[in-house]
Structure formats: structure tokens, C-alpha cells
């Protein structure tokens, strides 16, 4: 795959305000790429720079190998779906979709057919004669998509395209956008502040803060291995614990059972009925890694590659996701390490229950999410419990 879009050292200033700071970025052809970040982080500015509505103060932007310096928006191989959709209210749906075809040399009939096909593609077949202001939010969105895609751009830019829709419509459009992107094979660049949207839809996500790209990865890596505290805090829920990172150690350790994230009871059950091979006898094994002393949880040894060089021998923050922790119910056994705690708050979500559990040595209670499986009780505030945790879910975070 070749890189369709390449940004090198891109900067944008508004007066003294540094809106984009040294952005380096490449996006391969055909990717669904998302720019994710809180409002004011520069994601929309970056998108508008690619579209040609903002000129970068310095740096290079190439689309399909061609330097875009001095190329106006109307001459770029990009098209945009605006946050407000910008459907021309004085034109009909078909006229809106055909707007970009004015200089197209094809005959009127052919253009009409193309418009029909484009509308068909976004599920608006037969809507051509409607007036734009008679459309619902979701329909406007589709018109905006058809209007941009009919020009077969190299890149489709989407500026918070789903933010104006209600939750249900949004979820439906997410799926449709993915389908559409697969179908047309065009590179999509989506700007969003909604982390869930970004995780669901993208092949790759760049998380932006204050004009910088904080981290750029595929959704899973971004979620499981955030590199910094602000990325971790922005995407999903994360508990943060103070930690001291020591040096490299090598010590004897028992091998962990495979599929450790599964319910241990279930694993044992599966093994008994023969679904899983018998657990290999735990052989004494020497593991080497970095020693980390985590407040409230205790000592852990993490694989070397997981602890960035810069963090060694310093104090740092360790993140741990709520779903990788578990509260233990009375009489429940576990092979994981545990700490004692007291339930501080219970929030019941139907499929899940979120517990805030206070443990010794940590000021802020740990948030723990538990699936409400059949027969599993919901603990009450003030209940004494144990919290099970696993070294492998600890994420040492830079600043």
C-alpha cells in the first residue's frame, strides 16, 4: 500500500495560538482513519488543512504524492462531509448531489444516472426531487455523503458527521459508513470527539491533544496499550495508580495458566469436560522483567518491552482498566493476586455493574466493572470484598 496522504512537520498558528504542532502523519490508500480528541485539540483544523480551507503555517502536505501548497480546496482530490452537512437549502436533493458535476463533460442524462446511482448507494433512491429542508438529519447526512462520493475523490473527509444525530441513528450510520467505505474503497478521514465512534469505525486512530498527536495506533492497541496518561484517560475508563519503577530483575515464577482472562471456574469446568487440554504442570520458570511497586496492589514484574526506557528507576503512573479487575464474591476462589477492599459506590447498568472499591494505600477508589452473569449477586455499599488483579493488565504510562 502506498501512502495516499503524507504530512511532514505541519504547523498552524493563529496569531500566538499554536493550533497544530509539528504534525507528521501518513495515511495509506483505502484506510478508515480517525482523528480523535477533545474539542479544541486541532483535529478539525487538521482536517480543514487537508481539505484546503486552512493553509498550514509551515510544513508539507502531500496527497497522492503531489504537494498541495497553493492548491485551493476546489482543486484538491478531497471532498468533505460537513458537520452541519451544508446541504444547499435552495436546491433539491438531486441538484445538491449534482452540484459538483457542473464542469463534468458527461451528458445531462449520464449525469442524471450518476446522481440516481449515488442516491441509491446511500439509500435515498427516489428522493431526488425533495427539497433539502424537508429532510431529516439522517437523510441530510446521506445527501452530503452522496454529494461528496459522486465526485469519486481520493479522500473523503468527514467532520464530526454523526454528532448531530440521536444515539440510535448514530449507531446505524456508523455501520453504514463502514459498509460504504468498504464498498467504495476510498480513504476516509473522520474527525470525532467520540472515542467509541472512533474505536468502532476506524482502521487507525490518531489521538490529538493541544495540537499534537498523542498516539497513533489501531483501535485495539490504543485501548489496551495507551502510551500516556492523557490518552488512557481519554479513551475508555482507566484507574490510575502511583507506582515506582525499579530495575531489571530475574526471578523464579510459575507459568500462568493459558487464557487467564476467562473465568477460572469456567476454565476448570471446560478442562474437566475435555474442551481444553489438561493444564501443563506448572514448571518452575525464570522470568526476567522490570520490577514495579504499585501503590495499593504491591509488587509486580512486567516484561521489559512494556516499560519504556524513560520510566525506569522513576515514579510513574500505572493504568488498569476496570474490566481487568474483579471483585470476588463471598467464598469465591481465584488464582489471581488479590487485595482487600470495601465497596464505596455501586452503579448498576443492567448488563454491567460498576463498583468503586476502596483499597488501602490508594486515595481514589478503584473502579471495577463486572458483567452481571446469571446468579452473580450485586454487592452493597460498605460490603467487604477482595479485588483480583493481574500483572499483565498493568499499563505503565508516560506523561
Amino acid at each position: 500500500m502506498t501512502d495516499l496522504i503524507a504530512l511532514e512537520g505541519l504547523n498552524k498558528y493563529y496569531g500566538d495560538y499554536h493550533a497544530l504542532r509539528d504534525i507528521d502523519l501518513t495515511i495509506p490508500q483505502g484506510q478508515f482513519f480517525s482523528l480523535l480528541g477533545p474539542s479544541g485539540c486541532g483535529k478539525t483544523t487538521l482536517l480543514r488543512t487537508i481539505a484546503g480551507f486552512e493553509a498550514p503555517s509551515s510544513g508539507v502536505l502531500r496527497i497522492d504524492g503531489r504537494d498541495m501548497k497553493g492548491v485551493a480546496a476546489n482543486h484538491r482530490p478531497t471532498n468533505m462531509v460537513f458537520q452541519s452537512y451544508a446541504i444547499f437549502p435552495h436546491l433539491s436533493v438531486a441538484e445538491n448531489v449534482a452540484f459538483g458535476l457542473r464542469k463534468d463533460p458527461r451528458s445531462k442524462e449520464e449525469k442524471g444516472r450518476a446522481v440516481g446511482e449515488a442516491l441509491e448507494m446511500v439509500g435515498l433512491g427516489g428522493y431526488g426531487n425533495r427539497r433539502a429542508h424537508a429532510l431529516s438529519g439522517g437523510q441530510r447526512q446521506r445527501v452530503a455523503l452522496a454529494r461528496a462520493l459522486i465526485l469519486q475523490p481520493k479522500v473523503l473527509l468527514l467532520d464530526e458527521p454523526l454528532s448531530a444525530l440521536d444515539k440510535k441513528m448514530r449507531e446505524q450510520m456508523q455501520v453504514e459508513l463502514i459498509r460504504l467505505q468498504r464498498q467504495v474503497g476510498i480513504t476516509f478521514i473522520l474527525v470525532t470527539h467520540d472515542q467509541e465512534e472512533a474505536l468502532v469505525m476506524s482502521d487507525r486512530i490518531a489521538v490529538m491533544f493541544e495540537g499534537e498527536i498523542g498516539q497513533m495506533d489501531d483501535p485495539e492497541t490504543l485501548y489496551r496499550r495507551p502510551k500516556s496518561r492523557r490518552v488512557a484517560a481519554f479513551i475508555g475508563l482507566m484507574n490510575f495508580l502511583d507506582a515506582r519503577v525499579g530495575g531489571e530483575v530475574s526471578e523464579r515464577k510459575t507459568a500462568a495458566p493459558e487464557r487467564p482472562t476467562d473465568d477460572p471456574m469456567l476454565t476448570r469446568f471446560r478442562r474437566q469436560i475435555g474442551l481444553l487440554p489438561k493444564a501443563p504442570k506448572a514448571l518452575p520458570e525464570y522470568v526476567s522483567g522490570i520490577e514495579v511497586e504499585v501503590a495499593g496492589l504491591g509488587r509486580a514484574v512486567l516484561p521489559k518491552e512494556r516499560v519504556p526506557e524513560a520510566l525506569r528507576h522513576t515514579g510513574c503512573t500505572v493504568g488498569i482498566r476496570p474490566e481487568t479487575l474483579a471483585v470476588l464474591f463471598e467464598g469465591e476462589q481465584t488464582t489471581s493476586r488479590t487485595v482487600d477492599g470495601v465497596v464505596d459506590e455501586v452503579v448498576y447498568y443492567g448488563d454491567m455493574t460498576y463498583y468503586d472499591v476502596r483499597i488501602e494505600g490508594v486515595e481514589k477508589p478503584l473502579t471495577i466493572s463486572m458483567k452481571n452473569l446469571i446468579g452473580r449477586p450485586v454487592l452493597e455499599v460498605g460490603a467487604k470484598t477482595r479485588v483480583a488483579w493481574d500483572e499483565r493488565s498493568l499499563v505503565p504510562l508516560g506523561h
Binding site: 498558528y13 493563529y14 496569531g15 486552512e54 493553509a55
Partner: protein, 290 residues
């Protein structure tokens, strides 16, 4: 201009665009005003302008009882017009904003604005017809037996000027107040009622303070042009209803004493500005004390 380089393209285009009307306003407003200022420091003897700098015009404008009296009267009349107009206008704005169905609001506003756009001269003249000795008001009141002889206190004096101007500037007062009232979030009023305030105290503690910017705008937009009104005092004011604008006109077009006229105009403008600023300042103080 060094800082211009750091502005966005859009801002640069905006500056280019705005420079056209701005240049027009500079050429046709700022420069002429500067010329008037300059003139006010000169003197004129019949047709010759004496260009030596002097404060004589100002001494005359402020010292001569006739000019001082006209100025004081203009301020008083404009003040009364402002008070009357705003007090009359507020309930209308309140009514349209709070008691008229949203779909009919623009109809009401349209009805209110229409009289404003019809010939000002003729409208003022018609007040003369209404208020006159044999006018519509007197003949009707006589006919109905409310009075025995025609009322005389309503024409050719300051009262007539106040009534006529209050009519002429009605929409100017209603619209800003209406806009301010429209901006008030109605849940604020419900919140106040919910917190135990009565209808009246809610109005005084919530609605009125929030509508105050509109009232201030209304007062200024009425006060400032009225002080310089020429037609109304001439038509319905009588000798005791004349205002400063009439004197400015006399100096310029009749007595051919442009420098004195200019000085009077400058004094009137300064007066307006000082009073307007004072008013804004007092209002700020009042709002803060609330």
C-alpha cells in the same frame, strides 16, 4: 501592518471587505465632523471666514442665555420623550414577547413598525391636526361633552413635542426591548416562581434586570436623535418648544454664521455623548448593585 501577516486568510478578506464601507464612513462622516470641529474655532464676518483660532463661538454658545436655554430645553424635552417612550413601549414589548403566540409575533412587530416608515413630515403635521385648537382631539372631546372649551396646553409647546416624538420613536424603543426580552430563558422565570417569588417580584428581580440592556439601548436610540430633531419643534412646538437643532439650522442657513452653528452642533453632540455615557455608567452601577 506587521501583525496582519499573522491573521488567517479569512480575516484578511474580511478586512478588505470592511474597508470599503469604513472608508466611506471616514470620508463622509469622520472628515466632515472634523471640518465642523475646525469651523467651530473660526469666526465668520458675513461671507469671509477668519481662520484665527478662537473660543469665541463656544463662549457665545455657552454664555448667551438664548443658546443655553435652547440646549437645556432640548435635553429636557429629549429626556422626557425618552422616559415617556420607553415607559409606554415596555409593556408592548413585554406583551409581544410573552403573551403573543410565536407564529404571530412577526405580524405584531410588522404592525408596530409600519407607521414608522410612513412620511415623517406628514405624520408630525398630522399631530398638529389632532392636537390643534380645532383639532380632532378637541372637537371629539367637545362633541362627547368631556370638556367645555378646547384644551390649549397640548399644542405649540413642549408637551406637543413630547407627544409627537414619543409617537415617532415608538418602534425604536419597542424593538430593542423586545429583542432583550426574547433572549430571556423562560425557565429562569419559572425557576424564580419555583423559588418562592411572586409574579411581581419575579418581574422586578429576574425579568427587568435581564431586559435592562434592551431598555438602555432603547433609551439611547430614542434620546440621541430626538435631541437633534428639527421638524417636530418647528411644526408643533411653537416658540416655547423650539430646540437646539432649529438654532443650528438658523445659524447655518439664515444668519450665515456657520462657525457659531458648528460650535452649537459640537456642544450639542458633546452634551449627548456625556449624557449617554453617564446613563450607561449609572445603569451598570445599578445592575451591579442588584
Amino acid at each position: 501592518m506587521a501583525s496582519l501577516g499573522r491573521l488567517g486568510d479569512d480575516a484578511k478578506r474580511a478586512i478588505k471587505l470592511v474597508s470599503v464601507p469604513f472608508a466611506y464612513a471616514v470620508l463622509l462622516l469622520a472628515l466632515p465632523l472634523a471640518a465642523v470641529l475646525l469651523f467651530s474655532f473660526w469666526t465668520q464676518d458675513f461671507l469671509d471666514i477668519d481662520r484665527t483660532f478662537t473660543l469665541r463661538n463656544y463662549q457665545e454658545a455657552l454664555g448667551e442665555p438664548i443658546y443655553r436655554q435652547l440646549l437645556v430645553r432640548s435635553v429636557l424635552i429629549a429626556g422626557s420623550v425618552t422616559v415617556v417612550t420607553v415607559i409606554l413601549a415596555f409593556p408592548i414589548a413585554y406583551f409581544v414577547s410573552f403573551h403573543v403566540a410565536p407564529s404571530r409575533k412577526s405580524l405584531w412587530l410588522f404592525l408596530i413598525t409600519i407607521p414608522f416608515w410612513t412620511s415623517y413630515l406628514i405624520r408630525v403635521f398630522l399631530w398638529k391636526v389632532i392636537l390643534g385648537y380645532n383639532g380632532v382631539l378637541n372637537t371629539s372631546l367637545l362633541g362627547l361633552g368631556f370638556i367645555d372649551e378646547p384644551l390649549t396646553f397640548i399644542l405649540y409647546n413642549a408637551n406637543a413635542v413630547v407627544i409627537t416624538l414619543a409617537h415617532a420613536f415608538a418602534p425604536f424603543a419597542i424593538l430593542p426591548i423586545f429583542v432583550a426580552l426574547e433572549k430571556i430563558d423562560h425557565s429562569l422565570i419559572e425557576a424564580s416562581r419555583d423559588l418562592g417569588e411572586s409574579r411581581v417580584t419575579t418581574f422586578l428581580r429576574v425579568t427587568l434586570p435581564l431586559a435592562m440592556p434592551g431598555v438602555v439601548a432603547a433609551a439611547l436610540i430614542v434620546f440621541i436623535p430626538t435631541i437633534g430633531d428639527y421638524v417636530t419643534p418647528r411644526l408643533v412646538g411653537g416658540p416655547n418648544g423650539l430646540m437646539i437643532a432649529n438654532m443650528i439650522q438658523t445659524q447655518f442657513l439664515r444668519l450665515n454664521n456657520a462657525p457659531l452653528g458648528a460650535a452649537l452642533a459640537i456642544v450639542a453632540m458633546l452634551c449627548v455623548t456625556v449624557i449617554a455615557l453617564l446613563f450607561i455608567w449609572l445603569n451598570r452601577k445599578w445592575l451591579r448593585s442588584q
